[in-house]
Each structure stands twice: as C-alpha cells, then as structure tokens.
C-alpha cells in the first residue's frame, strides 16, 4: 500500500499542527463509540444467554434494550466509527511523513475490520426479531460481532502503540503490527476494561438521562438496570485503572516526560470522581448522577487521549525536527520563487547585508578565522564575478589546511551574485587603500 504514502504531500508546519489536533478530536469520537459498541454487545449476548437458560424475561428484555438503546443507527456508525478512522489514516500519515512506517496500511486494515464488525453488530441487532425461532443463529451472530469488535480494539491499540516505538518501524511487516508486544497487550487490556466500564456509564446515561430516559420501565427493571450500570461502571473502572498503570509501565523510555506522567495522574483523578458518583448511584435510589457519570467518562477519554498525544510527541521528537526542516525547505522554496517572479536583481548593498548576516561569522577581510581572509582569496578570481558567484552557490574544499568545506549558504542566484559583487568591491577598496 505504498501508493497511499505517495498521496501525502510534504506537510507544512501548520498542517502538521492541525493533523495533531485532529488526531485528538477524532480519537475522542472513535474510541468511546467502539468501546460502547463492544461493551453493549458483550453484555447483550451474556444477558440473552442468561435469559434463555434461566428463563428470565427481565434478562431477555435487557439484552434487547441494550442494543436498541446503545447501538445507534447507521448514521452514527458512519460518523463515529468509519469516518474517524479515515481521518486518522490521513492525519497519522501526515505526521509520519518521510518515515519508513506505512501507518496508512495499518489504519486501512483497522478500517476494514471495523466496518465488518459494525455490519455484524447490526446483523446481531436485527436477529432479535427472530430470536425465539433461530436462537443459535442469534448467538453466533453476537459472537461474530464480539470477535470483530475485539479485533478492532486490538488492531487499533496495536497501530497507535507502534508509533511510540520508532525502532520497530523498519522491522514490522505483518498486517496487524506489534502483535506480541507487552505495550500492546497492556493497551488492549486497558481498552477492553474501559469499554466495559464506559458501557456501564452509557447504560446510566441513555436509559435514565438522555431524552428523559427510556420509557416503559417498571420499578424492578429500572432498579436492576441502574444497579447493573452503576456496578459495572464502578468495578470495571477500578480494574481499568490497574490496566492503565500496567500500560504506563510498559511505555518505552522515549515516550516518557513530566507532562505524560502528570496527565496520567489527572486521568486517575477524573476516574476517581466517576467512581464516587457511580458508588452514590448504587447506594441511593435517586438517579441525579446518572448523566454526570457518562459526561465525566468523556472527560476521562479526553485526558487519556491527551496523555497518548504527549507520549506520541515524545517518541516523535526526532520526526518533529525532520518535519520542521521540511517546512523550512518549503518556505525557502516559496520565497525563492516569489523573489524570481518579482525580478529581484543583484546589488552591492544587498551583498553587504548578506556578508553581515552570514559570512561575517567565519570570514574577515584582513584576517583568517574559520575561513580564509577575503583579501587573500578574492583576488585569485581576477575580477570574475560569475566564477566567485558559482563557488558561493556550490562551495568545494580548496585548501586542506582548513578544518571543513565551506557550507552551502542556500543563497538564491541573485543573492550569491550580490555577495560576490560586494566582496570584490570591498577587497578592491581595501587594497586600493
């Protein structure tokens, strides 16, 4: 899939910055959505089985209500599941421009898996109509959807973790990178537990808060759903924090910084607030905190995404330097083209400015510094401005007694000519004196 790389043009500094913000925002759409999809499918499947074998209509009803309430429609799947991955593909390709990792390929693979998983979840939802007649078909579809979503989470965890390990970019050739890395296992475990925890919060929000709450729930059912949602949120939030700590331990040294650890502590603090509200919901009969739990979970996702971003920026320390250099070259090229079009001409005055800005660091007229004295070398050109201009544009080592070749000053042709004119003019004046 190298052709995908060729579609990405060399990025300007502002494009790179926008790409980084887009990664944060689109991750904030994608990760909670897939997490809730996974969690609701798992719980729905579990309750469907439990309802069948215990012959309990409450569980069977809850199983259906979970997918009806939390899945959303195809529009939601497109906006929160598919489009963010396409956006992430392009944004990551921008920030990893010029590297030997084909990140677009891994995101495309994740996109196909996600699409298949979403199709399976909707087939699973549709299978509720004929659940009683074709029960095992219903279960198999649920298991396939669950498997697809689990693979999506793994592929996503694997792809974004790969970015933290520049040393592995040249070594990875499999479709899903870093399959056997502890960092990926830890990240995947964290995402799995978080998925279940945020599903609990989503149950509380969408069943009791969003649009006035779900209608037609009797007291027993209401109480069960509330306790289940709050209990899952509380228990699995604590477990997910353990996974989060494990993930932090597995991070490579280049990803670490004060900012990374500080944002991790903020994430843990936000999760503490979530758990306190979830515990209050378990204890109290009121539902006033139902909406707050889910909103706080979105805040938690934001902080974790920022934490991921900081770790990524740390790992891409050298890549960011490379992108800065590319940006400087693009800017210089645009300025050169602009100067050519404006018909700038060489002059002694311009040459003097260039001498004072660039040449004076290593050259003087009357003494040898890092470079030779101009009074010694300029007369050798016998007044040939063009020859001196060509040397300035393409310097070569002439005298081996000097420590280095004169570095190319990246002057435009009319600037080199100006410098040559000034040097010859000034040497002539000094020698005349």
């Amino acid at each position: 899939m190298e052709f995908l790389q060729s579609w990405i043009s060399p990025p300007r500094a502002d494009h790179v910055q926008i790409a980084k913000y887009i990664i944060i925002i689109t991750s904030l759409f994608f990760v909670p959505y897939i997490s809730v999809l996974f969690g609701s499918t798992l719980f729905s499947l579990g309750f469907s089985l439990r309802g069948k074998f215990e012959e309990n209509s409450l569980f069977s009803r809850f199983s259906k209500d979970l997918v009806d309430t939390l899945y959303g429609n195809w529009g939601v799947a497109l906006v929160l599941g598919i489009l963010p991955l396409i956006t992430l593909t392009i944004s990551f390709s921008q920030i990893l421009y010029g590297t030997d990792v084909n990140i677009a390929q891994y995101f495309i693979v994740t996109l196909f898996i996600t699409f298949a998983a979403i199709v399976l979840t909707f087939l699973y939802r549709n299978s509720f109509e004929k659940r009683d007649d074709a029960y095992w078909r219903h279960i198999i579809l649920g298991l396939l959807a669950l498997g697809g979503l689990k693979t999506t989470l793994f592929a996503f965890a694997s792809t974004i973790t790969l970015v933290l390990f520049p040393e592995r970019w040249a070594l990875i050739h499999s479709i899903i990178p870093l399959t056997f890395s502890w960092s990926v296992v830890a990240k995947f475990s964290f995402l799995m537990m978080l998925s279940l925890a945020v599903t609990g919060a989503a149950i509380l929000f969408f069943f009791f808060s969003w649009g006035g709450g779900r209608q037609g729930m009797d007291e027993q059912y209401r109480e069960y759903v509330k306790k289940f949602g709050a209990g899952i949120t509380l228990g699995l939030s604590i477990v997910s924090m353990l996974m989060f700590l494990w993930y932090l331990v597995t991070l490579p040294v280049m990803a670490k910084s004060y900012g990374m650890f500080l944002s991790a502590m903020v994430a843990v603090f936000v999760m503490l607030i979530v758990c306190i509200y979830a515990a209050a919901l378990l204890r109290d009969s009121q539902l006033k905190h139902a909406g707050k739990v889910f909103i706080l979970f979105i805040v938690f996702f934001l902080v974790v995404t920022v934490n991921d971003n900081i770790a990524r920026e740390n790992s891409l320390h050298y890549q960011n330097y490379k992108l800065d250099k590319i940006n400087s070259e693009i800017v210089a090229k645009i300025e050169a083209e602009s100067a050519e079009k404006s018909g700038a001409t060489a002059s002694v005055e311009m040459g003097k400015e260039i001498y004072n800005a660039k040449c004076i660091a290593c050259h003087r007229f009357d003494q040898k510094l890092v470079g030779p004295a101009y009074n010694d070398v300029v007369p050798k050109y016998n007044g040939d401005i063009e020859k001196l201009k060509q040397f300035i544009l393409n310097p070569v080592k002439v005298d081996p007694s000097f420590p280095m070749t004169m570095p190319n000053q990246m002057l435009k042709p009319f600037e080199a000519e100006s410098a040559a004119m000034y040097l010859m003019d000034e040497v002539k004046k000094l020698q005349g004196n």
């Binding site: 520049p166 040393e167 670490k256 758990c275 204890r283 790992s315 320390h317 070259e329 570095p407």
Partner: protein, 193 residues
Amino acid sequence: MRYAVPVLLTGLFGLFILAILGMTMFWVDWEKPDEQPIAYPHDFHAGKGLTTLSNGDQVTGLGLECTHCHQFVTKSKFATIPALSICAECHSKLDPRTEEMKKLKQYIDNNEPPVWQRIYSVPDYVYFSHKRHVNYFAKNWNVQITNGEACQKCHGDMRVVKKVKQMRTLQMGFCISCHRANNAPTDCWTCHK
C-alpha cells in the same frame, strides 16, 4: 457510613496516583538524562540547509562529517565525544553570537572540558562495539559513516536534531531483531562476554 465508600475509593485511587509518582521518580532517577552543559545543536553542525540557532537567527548548517567529532567510531568500541580542542578549532576564533557559544567560549578560555551527559548507554553486562557495527553497516548496507547514515539505525537522523534524546529502548529485543534480520550471531556470548 455515608462517606465510607468515597473515602475508601479516594484511598485506593490515591495509591494509584502514588504508583504513578513512583514511576515518575524512577524515570527521573534512572532514565531521564540531566541537562547538557551546553545546548549543542547537531542540526546546525552536522546538517545542511536552513536551521534556526538558539538566538533565533536562521542560518545554514555546516554539514560537518560525524567523524569530525566522533573520531573513533570506526576504530573503537566507543564512538567517543570530541575533546575541547575539536570545538576550539572554530570556536576559539569566532565571536560568540549566542548564549551557548558564550558558555563554550568560557570553557575554552578556562581550558576546562564540558561534562557532557551520556544519553545512550548499555548495561555493564553487555558488550557493544561501535567499530564492528558501523563498519558492517558501511560495507553491507551501502551507507556512509561520515555523514551519519550508518549511525541512524540506533541514533536516528542526527542531522536534524537540536536536542539529543534517547530514541531507541536499547532493550535486548531491539538488538536481537536486527541481528536476526542480518544473519548476525545471536548466541549469548556474542554480547554477554
């Protein structure tokens, strides 16, 4: 009783935050290098093309060969840091334009070498020879040593770097992967002599 659960939760999450603080302290003590005595810009010295100095001046890189400073990389197991005399070749004659150049001038005037902080190091029980690796890369990968192409595998492209940072974990898996890919020996005594 009403506040028992919130207090318990606060205590538990407090432990989690303490664990992160512990990780931070471990990183500070064992992994994070101290600041360098001078903010030496590799991109200006080794790179070519436009770059920005610490005082904001936009200049073009010198394009120095890596071996100009790291002189023993092809002859020794250590790449070595340049002696102060290498820096003084140019900097004893230049007017210091930036604060960092002023610091260097002071070191030169006092004939006192800066105490550079080591960024890359392997444990004592690991034997690593720069000479063997760099000469192998140059011969078998068709890369140059002088312009740093042979160094990029482990150190990244130093020609664009302002601040050096450890960019490879240097864990055993990193070494073994490359040894396997290049049919180099992977038996224990190759590296654990």
